[in-house]
């Protein structure tokens, strides 16, 4: 079974994945702000 046999894998949970990416982006932005503030 390869990914081509079951393409819907990417479409399910799409909102959850984008939400995770968004939260991670916020984490990195906060870390960058921390770097700027204390460097």
């Amino acid at each position: 079974m390869s990914l081509h046999d079951h393409p819907p894998f990417f479409s399910t949970w799409r909102k959850a994945y984008w939400f995770a990416v968004l939260l991670f982006a916020i984490e990195v932005a906060l870390l960058y702000a921390f770097t700027i503030r204390f460097s």
Partner: protein
């Protein structure tokens, strides 16, 4: 350590496995033994995945890493959230749908038996040795500083783990990891609080961070594209992604954790939890190292944290040279302390402090050279001893016992997952195919014996680890040498539908041989082996499929 510390230590490391045995002891079938009884929820999965990844090195070495080089190491984890999302989207549904016990079983279903054996074999070699290093690394540090017998420490950390993992299988591993990681987080939070509390009373937390920042310890994110820089945003995203994808998608010690979930949803939420929590957790651990660094700006640190090595060098006749360096170190420390207590608005304050800090480091480097000359060269970096020295010398009794228990809990949780995976992979991918059709109970007993056997192997590896020069580095190199090829096998399986078993098998063998040859003959940074091995498998497999194995019938006839 006093009696209170020993009580806290032994109560913690014994109570958790005993509770786990009480909660999980039954006569499981093979599915229950390898995957749990479908009662494990996302919270336990999340903590279990976290505990498997965060071994003792994380808690011993990371604060020391921040002490020496600042918190830039955090960027190495930036690729992990993306890798975990890909694992959730691609790997987990396939494993769940095929109802596999091990990741390598999937390779067997997608390709053939020999590719399954190759994937399993590469995993067993790499993890079998790495498991020994996981036990040895904290044992050598704790035995050196506490004066314990090394072999006794290895057995203390490894013995309990072997016992409860053999008896309880996956369910006890997940359950004990939940409590072990809780102890670890509580212990590290306490250490953080005490480190902040022990800073000078007239220094606010914000001022303390300001000093650390001016001394170059708080650069968390660096967008530089300079390849000579070790940790940058870009290397973290790219290198961290491949390393994490291989680790979470194709390493059975992690796959087994999330396959124990009571549903696909539980596995996914447990993994996404780690995608979001890992970076903040590592940030706080690194920040703890910065707090220890600040503490030692006002309280004189030892010139060399690994004092047993230092004392061996003194005893071997290098006392006068070391005493001269100690004098220089003390003078520099006093000058730096006076400067740090003056106003940061003084002209050239930052550059003067940084210069004194660099001079102190140069004196420490000179000390290390003398230790090497004296044959007292330690088996791990001096920074690995920073945090535990702070714990043993400056934390109150009781908390010291708890922090030593944290190191043991981290060792036990990481090792139990590895033993569970090694036993399962050997039983499911190597034993069962050659002894098919037996009763379920037969395979459970076989898996238990194989787990016990792997336990003995890891203890034996730990006992011979003293032959390795820098053991923590050795663990990372070992993983990087094998992970690339293993990930390559899975990426071909998932994304290159036209590639068949023989092409990917020989492609992976070629790629692995090439990586080992590169490792033996060149000085490439070891993290690159992940990318080289993975890319080589994809290219070789595609190339072989397009040429040598173009006709499937001809390929199978060979």
């Amino acid at each position: 350590m006093n009696n209170l510390d020993y009580i806290v230590l032994f109560a913690t490391i014994i109570a958790i496995p005993l509770y786990g045995l009480w909660r999980t002891y039954n006569h499981p079938n093979l599915r229950e033994y390898l995957k749990g009884d479908r009662s494990i929820r996302w919270g336990t999965i999340g903590l279990s995945v976290m505990a498997t990844q965060a071994g003792p090195i994380t808690f011993l070495s990371m604060p020391g890493q921040a002490y020496e080089s600042g918190i830039g190491f955090i960027q190495n984890y930036f690729g992990q959230p993306f890798a975990l999302i890909m694992v959730c989207a691609v790997f987990v549904p396939i494993y769940q749908r095929l109802k596999v016990y091990t990741a390598y079983e999937y390779l067997g279903q997608r390709f053939d038996k020999k590719t399954r054996f190759l994937g399993g074999f590469l995993f067993l070699i790499q993890r079998g040795i790495a498991g020994g290093i996981t036990i040895y690394a904290p044992a050598i540090i704790l035995s050196a500083l506490l004066g314990w017998d090394l072999n006794l420490t290895i057995w203390l950390a490894g013995g309990f783990v072997i016992l409860y993992t053999v008896v309880g299988g996956t369910k006890i591993v997940s359950l004990t990891q939940r409590y072990q990681i809780s102890v670890i987080l509580i212990g590290m939070a306490l250490a953080f609080g005490i480190a902040v509390y022990r800073l000078p009373a007239d220094l606010s937390f914000s001022d303390a961070l300001g000093i650390a920042g001016r001394m170059g310890k708080l650069q968390a994110v660096d967008f530089s594209i300079d390849p000579s820089k070790r940790y940058t945003f870009w290397s973290g995203i790219l290198g961290g992604f491949f390393l994490s994808l291989s680790y979470f998608g194709a390493d059975q010690s992690q796959v087994q954790r999330y396959l124990a979930g009571n549903s696909l949803r539980a596995s996914r939420i447990g993994l996404l939890f780690n995608a979001l929590v890992k970076v903040p957790m590592q940030f706080l651990i690194l920040l703890l190292g910065v707090m220890v660094f600040l503490f030692y700006q006002f309280e004189k640190p030892p010139i060399f944290f690994n004092q047993p090595s230092y004392q061996r060098a003194v005893a071997s006749g290098h006392g006068p040279e070391l005493a001269a360096l100690q004098k220089q170190f003390d003078d520099l420390f006093e000058k730096k302390r006076v400067l740090l207590q003056s106003s940061p608005d003084t002209p050239n304050w930052s550059s003067d402090v940084q210069q004194l800090d660099a001079q102190s480091r140069a004196v420490r480097d000179e000390t290390k050279k003398i230790l090497e000359k004296a044959g007292a060269n330690p088996k791990s970096k001096d920074s690995d001893y920073v945090f535990i020295t702070f714990v043993l010398n400056h934390l109150p009794h009781g908390v010291v016992g708890l922090l030593v228990a944290v190191i043991f809990c981290a060792t036990m949780s990481a090792t139990s997952a590895v033993l569970n995976a090694l036993g399962s992979t050997t039983a499911v991918d190597f034993y069962r195919p050659f002894r098919p059709g037996k009763e379920d109970h037969h395979y459970v007993v076989a898996t238990r014996w194989l787990t016990l056997g792997w336990g003995m192997v890891t203890i034996a590896v730990a006992s011979f680890c003293s032959l390795v020069e820098n053991l923590i580095e050795a663990g990372n190199i070992l993983a990087s040498v094998f992970y690339g090829s293993i990930l390559g096998l899975f990426l071909v399986a998932l994304f290159l539908r036209h590639v068949r078993g023989s092409a990917v098998f020989f492609g992976a063998v070629l790629a692995q041989t090439m990586v080992i040859a590169l490792f033996l003959t060149t000085n490439i940074g070891y993290l690159w082996y992940n990318l080289i091995g993975c890319t080589a498998v994809l290219l070789f497999a595609s190339g072989l499929q397009a040429t040598v194995f173009r006709n499937p019938e001809a390929a199978s006839a060979k």
